[in-house]
Each structure stands twice: as structure tokens, then as C-alpha cells.
Amino acid sequence: MFAQQVVNAISLGSVYALFALGFTLVFGILGVINLSHGGIFMLGAYAALLLITRFDIPFWVALPLAMAASGTLGLLIDVLILRLLRKRNAPHLMPMIATIGAAILMTSLAQGLFGSETRRFPLELFDQASLTWGPITIPVVQAGITALSVALMLIMVWVLRHTRIGQALRAISESPRAAALLGIPVERLFHLTSFVAAALGGAAGILIGLSFDAISPFMGQPMLHKGIAAIILGGLGDVRGAVLGGLFLGAAEVFAVTFLSSEYRDALSFGLLFLVLLWRPQGLFGASSTRSA
């Protein structure tokens, strides 16, 4: 049973990590907590659902299309909301409140368009296939999610470390003004970041919708809470931290259930989170030297 719970912990943690990746990216570069990330996550799942059920598009084509759609939505939020607030030098709370508004708008929109019932992907392809190894069972989709969130994290760390765009982004996260003075096209990179982060959020929504059969207009909100916890725990704005924070939270929840009681799961896991933050207020990766997104 313990081995299975370790697997459960990793698989739940990967879900949180996948969601937190895009979330933390926006914070790292734009310095904004984008609370509409849960809405993008949800609409990404619906976009894929629509493409697959209405237009009979195969999953592997629908996935990038829906990611592009979510990315565009994120870009729109950046252009229509965040850019205006940046221009007016709005205080830090403003983008937060504005994106809460955007999230509510998206939830109501999804409810009007798709109804409030929980839907699922009609895919027998992935349905209930699992890998069994001794006493351990892993649903294939979840093994995929774990692999994907680790791969995405590695790709992003590599891009940020070793490419010119990454260099520019790190400069922006240090100081947007100084970066602009150096000739870095800050606005364009803000748009790019918003697009990529939202595309990742959409992908998270699709994959989580796929593995848990729970696509609903309200799927974003609880995930947003866990996502915030994960990125704070990992160190705000740090990509590795988002993944580790997600895995930590997943493990805390699963082991709270395993060794104590599911009755106290959230109290224990969030209590633990609190203790970690007392010990390291900047989060696991939040040292000043790694404010590198």
C-alpha cells in the first residue's frame, strides 16, 4: 500500500506542478499574480472538448490547437487588461483584482456556453488503461502527466538559462525598466510570456480533464488555491520551485491521508506548508540569486 501511495503522491503532485508552471512564469516575468489562470485552465479543457466532440478532431491535433486558443486568451488578457494597468503604473493589487474579474467572467461564460454539468472527454483510447507493476497501479494518462510536467519544467529551465530569449526574460524579471533601456523589447516579451503561460495552463486543463474526467466551469477555482500554495511554497516566480512545490503539496496531502486521516488532510497539508514558510519564508527556491523565473 505504501508504494502505491508514493505513486499517488507523485501523480497528484504532478497535477499541481503542471498547473503551477504557467502560473509562476507570469509572476516571474510580469510580476503579476494572474488569478485568471484557473479560468484559462478551464477554458483550455473546454476548447479541446469542443474540438474533439464537435469537429471530430483527433486528440493529438486538438491538444496543440486548444493550447494555442488558451495562449491567445492569455495574450488577450495581457493586451486588454494587464498592459493598460502597466501603462498607468497601477499598484500591485490592481492586476490581481482585474484578473479575478476576468476569471469570474470566464466561469460565467463557460456556464452559459457549456452548462454547469461535469463533462468528460469521449476518449476510449486513454480510458482506463493502467500500468501494473507488482502492487502498484498507475493510470497511463497520469504517468504521462508526470513525465510531461517534468519535461516542461526542464525545457523551460533550459530556455531561461541558455537562450537569448531566456536571457532577455531574466533581465526583465530583474528590472523591466533597465531591460528596456538595454533595448530589450519588453512589451513583446510580456506578450510572449502571457501566451506561453496561458498555453501551458490550457494544456494543464486538458490533461487534468483527461485523467480525472472532471471538466466543469468550476474546475479552475480549487486548482487555483492549490496552485497558489505550490508556487509560494516553491518560491514565487521560480519554475523549478513550482514543480517541487506542487510535488510537495501532493505528497503532503497523500501522506496526511495515509498516516493520519482524510478528515484532517487539508489542515495537515496546509499546516505543513505554513511550517515550511516559517523556516524558509522565501520558499524552497526563492533565494535572491534565483529570481530568475
Binding site: Q4, L12, V15, Q128, D213, S262
Partner: protein, 383 residues
Amino acid sequence: MRVFHRPLLLALAAFTLIPAAFAGEIRIGLAEALTGPASQYGIPIRNGFLLAQDEINAKGGIAGNRIVLVEEDERGKKEEAINVYKKLIFQDKVLMIFGPTLSNSMFAAGPIANMAHLVAFGTSNTASGITDIGPYIFRSSPMEADVVPVTLKAAIKHVGLHKVGIIYGNDDAFTKSGYDVFRQVLQADHIAVVDTETYSKGDVDFKAQLTKIKAQSPDAIICPCLAEEGANILIQARALGIKAPFIGGNGFNTPKLLENAKAAAEGTIVGSPWFDGNPSPENKHFIAAYRKKYGADPNQFSAQGYDALFIVAEALRKIHLTGQLSHDRQALRDALPSIRFTGATGHFAFRAAPLHGGKPGGYDADQAPFVYIVKNAKFTLLK
């Protein structure tokens, strides 16, 4: 000249229009969750009511008076239910109110109706204690406490229960109340509970809890859950290799469960006040009319809404409406308890709630439930 005449014309128009519109209307409030997560119950309920309204009015209404349902969206929230109740009672001056959708909301809003002396009639509230609110509270939804013993009796016969695991949501009045009832009945039947696990609203991953339950190898897993979590729990349980059947509460009574859980729902046992395969003429008529109006299959909640309006219509036929609101509200309240009716959900009667601290309560449903088992992706009657 024209400007001068307009107010006069308006006044005249108002004078002639208002009496025409209001004479012969019986205004009844319908407070259901039409948006928000609970709308998956609230909308089928509303649809059932509107169908019944059409049918009653098409047949001449109540002694020539049309029934008019005044719809309000209570969004499945306590606060909103209270607001909607106040609006319906004091502003719209309705004769009585149907709804709200969730037990949680009835606990919050019901006392207002009770104080204002008009009937609050729930068609989907199954938690214990709802009718303890007071003598103006009615419900047509059988309590979990009435359905669960029948369900378990059938399950014991069918599966041979000796030990069970339980998983339920502990942050919701409905699932918590379902859990309490199951626990009591299990105790009375001397069935051991080997593991009890909980989850919170919005959870999607239940594998940690299910892995723990699996380790105890129970004969069945009791799941007083709502369908959206239920489907997920079933799928993940099967993925973890759990073979034991599930036994659900009222929340499992929806085709959505089968649609979402597919093969994982096989063998699940559920008790329900309504059976879509019930061959009674009332039920066949209801299903056909519902499909025709909405192009979709009805569920238990629409059936209960549909029947509830007919139950009230029966009571309205027995009383004489005077147009004096407090008198009419009281007359309806006094006429309701003795109504007997056979509708889509079968035979229905009210049963007075037991005295609560010496005070009289409202009226619960007195109705025998059906027990289903999921076979070949269909709810079939378990005998």
C-alpha cells in the same frame, strides 16, 4: 396637447391592464439554483415544474385560474436563497414557494417562510432535520433516512455485506447527512465499517483515500456522494483494481453518473424515489412529454418537480382563494397534508415530521423508494 394627455393615457392603460393580468393568476415562487454548480440539479427541477405548469394551465388551470411560476435563481447559495425568499414573499407576494435546490439552502431560507406563514416546499432536499424548521415546511423528496435502509437491505441480499468502506464529502450538508444515515443503518444491521475516508468539494484525485480503503478489502464501498465526484471515485477505484461494488445515496440517481463513469459504474447499487423504467401510465406520460418539450431525458429531480406542482394543484382545488394573501397562504398550508397523489414518482403522501423539542414540524414525503443496480450501463431494478 399630446404631452398633456400621456399621463392620463398611461393611467388608463394601467387601470385596464393590471386587473386583466392579475385576475385569475395564482402566483407561486420557484427558487432553484439555475446557475452555479448546483444548477445541474436546479435546471432539471425547473424544467419539471414548467412542464407541469403547461399541462395544468392547458387543462384550464385551477378553477379557471392560471398557475404562474415566478422563477428566481438562488445559485445554490444560502445567502442568495435567503434574498430570493424575501423577494418572493414580500415583493412578489407569492402564495407559496418551491425550492431551494440544496438542503443547505433550505436550512437557511426555510425559517423565513415559516415566520411569514407560507408554505416552503422542497422537492430535492433530503437531509435530515429539514422539516424540523417548522409547520410550514414541506418536502416531496424522501429523506436519505427513508431510502438508505431499503437500499442496504437490497444490497445485503444481493452482495452479502459483512464489511464495508465509506468515502464521502465532509464539507457539504447533503453528503454529510447521507453519511450519518448510512452509518446508523450499518450499525443497526451489524455491518462492520473497516475504513472511513473523506474529501472536500472540488477534489478530483481520490486515489490516496481509495488506496487506503482497498487495503481493507471491503465487500462494498459506501459512497454518499454527488454524481460529479462519484463518477470520478468509481473510475479511480477501478483503475486501482478495486472490484467491490459501490452503494450510493441520492446523489447517484442520475444518468450523468453512467455517462461519466461508463463501465466503472457496473454493479453500483442506488436507491431512488423515481425509476425511469417504471411502466405506470403517469410515468410514461411524463417521460414522453418531457422528451418532447426539452429534447432530453428527464431525471429524478425533474420528476419530483413535475409531481410537486400537481400535488399543490390538488390542494388548490380543495380550497377557495379569497385574494386575501395571508388567508390564502394559510388555507393552502392546511389543505396540503392530506393530499394523496399518484404521479411520475409513484404513490405519494405526506407524513408529519415528529415533534421537535415539543414543537410541531413540517411534512416529509411518505413514499417507497426503488432500488437499482447498474447492469450493462443501465439502471435496472434490483429485486
